[in-house]
């Protein structure tokens, strides 16, 4: 029988919107699966592709990058760079034998605590469905 699998997600959250959104989920006492570990970065554009690849290398089941909505980046254009980097990096994961579904980019604003919890719940669900990584 399949053992129930608890995926581990590494989440890179920009300080100004998504990290604040995650805080708001807390302040509003919205529960969500405890599978995510959050790393605070100043801007989603700070996330080096290396961070993502390294997370997978160490054994992460999923990596989430979350930033301000397009147009709302605290540094005006950081998330546009994030969006392009994401689009380039994602197909590359195939070469590493990592399912593209394990890598997500989401826009979560500082007022979207609810959305943040939904993103985590949904991502966890997806990763459970895909199952553990074969390393």
């Amino acid at each position: 029988m399949a053992v129930s699998h608890e995926p581990r997600i590494v989440g890179f959250l920009c300080n100004w919107c998504s990290y604040a959104g995650a805080d708001l989920a807390g302040t509003s006492r919205i529960t969500y699966p405890a599978n995510i570990r959050i790393i605070r970065v100043p801007c989603s554009g700070r996330v080096d592709p290396l961070f993502v690849v390294k997370s997978f290398q160490l054994g992460a089941d999923g990596v989430l990058i979350a930033g301000c909505h397009p147009g709302d980046c605290h540094y005006t254009e950081g998330n546009y760079h994030t969006r392009r980097r994401f689009a380039l990096l994602r197909p590359f994961l195939d070469y590493l034998g990592i399912d593209q579904e394990r890598f997500r980019l989401e826009w979560v604003s500082a007022s979207e605590g609810k959305k943040f919890s939904e993103v985590v719940a949904d991502f966890t669900e997806t990763l459970k469905r895909i199952g553990p990584r074969e390393i």
């Binding site: 805080d23 405890a34 992460a60």
Partner: protein
Amino acid sequence: MARVGVFVCHCGTNIAGVVNIPEVLEAAEKMPMVVSATDNKYSCSEPGQASIREAIIENNLNRVIVAACSPRMHEITFRRALASAGLNPYLLEMANIREQCSWVHSDNKEIATNKAIEIIKMAVAKVIRHEPLYPRQVGITKRALVIGGGITGIQTALDIANAGYGVVLVEREPSIGGRMAQLDKTFPTLDCSACILTPKMVDLSQHPKIKLMTYAEVKKVTGFIGNFEVEILHKAKKVDHLKCIGCGICWQKCPEKVPSEFDLGLGKRTAIYIPFAQAVPPKPVIDLSHCRYTKYLTWVATGQEGKKPPECRICEKLCPTAAIAWDQEEQLFTEKFGTIVVATGYQTYDYSHYKEYGSRDFADVITGLQLERLMSASGPTGGEVTRLSDGSHPKTVAFVCCVGSRDQQRGRPYCSKVCCMYTAKQAIMLKEHDPEVQCYIFYIDVRAGGKDFEEFYLRAIDEAGVIYIKGRPSKIYQDGKKLIVLGEDTLMGRPVEIPVDLVVLATGMEPSAGADELARNLNISYDTYNFMVEAHPKLRPVETHTDGIFVAGACVGPRDIPECVAQGSAAAAKVAALFSQDTLTTEPLIAVVNQARCIGCLLCVTICPFKAVDYQTTQDGRLIAATNESLCKGCGLCIAACRPKAIDLRGFTNQQILDEVAGLWL
């Protein structure tokens, strides 16, 4: 060797009610480089902070983890606690086990406890690599630049100067005054515009703290808050303003007549001119594109082809102070400023796109601003409102609102805000000029939000007998001496066709020409219409995303005079607050370049949104990137883009983030 102290907060029961604190402490003690792990009921309280202070000293800690609420909540508080224990405040890392753990996983205490331990583990991995950081103090040039000499710029400059600081006001026209100088009266009080504006203009020109630079333009801006360097182009006036006494002989005698920009083509000015009678400074410039002598000189220089233009030079012959300076050339000066206020204002929409309203082909279809000039006692007709076609006095006048406003098809969906009120004002005044006049106002909605505005609008109906017709006219055409305005009264649901003598188009506001170029020079944002973008529309209305640069007035969006004045004063208050300090403290959490690693690809220069990365040449001749500590905001975009990993972000270094990730699997 790092000596880490972990302080776990109960936050009353907020954390302790879910997370098993003794278990967390036990785990924390075993983490690498951790020398002490203690708990606190309320870490942020004074006793809590005191116990952190004591522990730092007692255990000789040099790195601190506070496992409590979000760093967005109390990072500053705990940094202060570190500082009070004699530790560099940047050696702190917070582990967010409240907002991102106990509050969201209250359904499973065991899982929450495990997660809290892991969050602390990641923080420990990161904190070990923290370095002491020091904010830097930079000096401030206590002198402000105000760009634009309309009412907003005038107010800003006066307020800054009255606070005791030096101001340079740059205006590209030969005189300050802006749009307000063109108006006859202002709504809703019907104050004479010139009577309230011109004393301010004179105040400004005589203020010992203000240097006025007219006929000048801002060309290039470098530097950062407190220390801007600005290149200002002084256009050639061809008149030495130090010698000129403004007697006016030259502009009275100059034979070359050209349409006056100030009177919007309704009147004439000469080639050597002041734009209007109360101009400040009251000294002329020579418009080289029309000056006869200049034409003669070009004729000589280009090989004397065609007819010889007259050698004129009448102004020079008549000038009693020999102030005409033909050898004066345009000049570029660099000046230093601590702050910049942009107050470049607006221009009215060019309605030539409105074919249905004649695209400027009908002499008796004019704009609201043109009507102001006609009504003004100092205007081209001396205050007589007459038709341009035959000089007769119009008896029926139709106003059309929202020309170039609230019009999706013309790409102008926004409301220009002042038109409803100024059409009402003009209708009331036309009735005062001539009681026989009947006015019709075609409107979409009457927006009379403002002090005494609604009353003023009602006055137009009740006292001036204005007939308001709801609907945008579909066509205006000439029929003999009359203009026919075709439209639909949408309230009555029937077509209307009104023959009138004069049509006034209430053309909307758009940013002054060149606003986009200026914004790019200043590195501030502008929207699709070229309006400047404020840092926050509600809470930071006069600031921009570039520190030290402020925006005020109609360059940000349609505004009326009192709003412009208020914004000018607001910007001035911001400037004064900044200048009241002697130095500025800059955040040390910024990008730094490792010179040895940099390969000079300069991708970082192009990617930086704040122009904070520049390049320099090393002693051995290599081109490398260099960050400007005062401009850098620490976003880290350049770092993620740097291929040789030669730039890093203090407080969020590559190694720290990688270690945080690795900390999870420790």
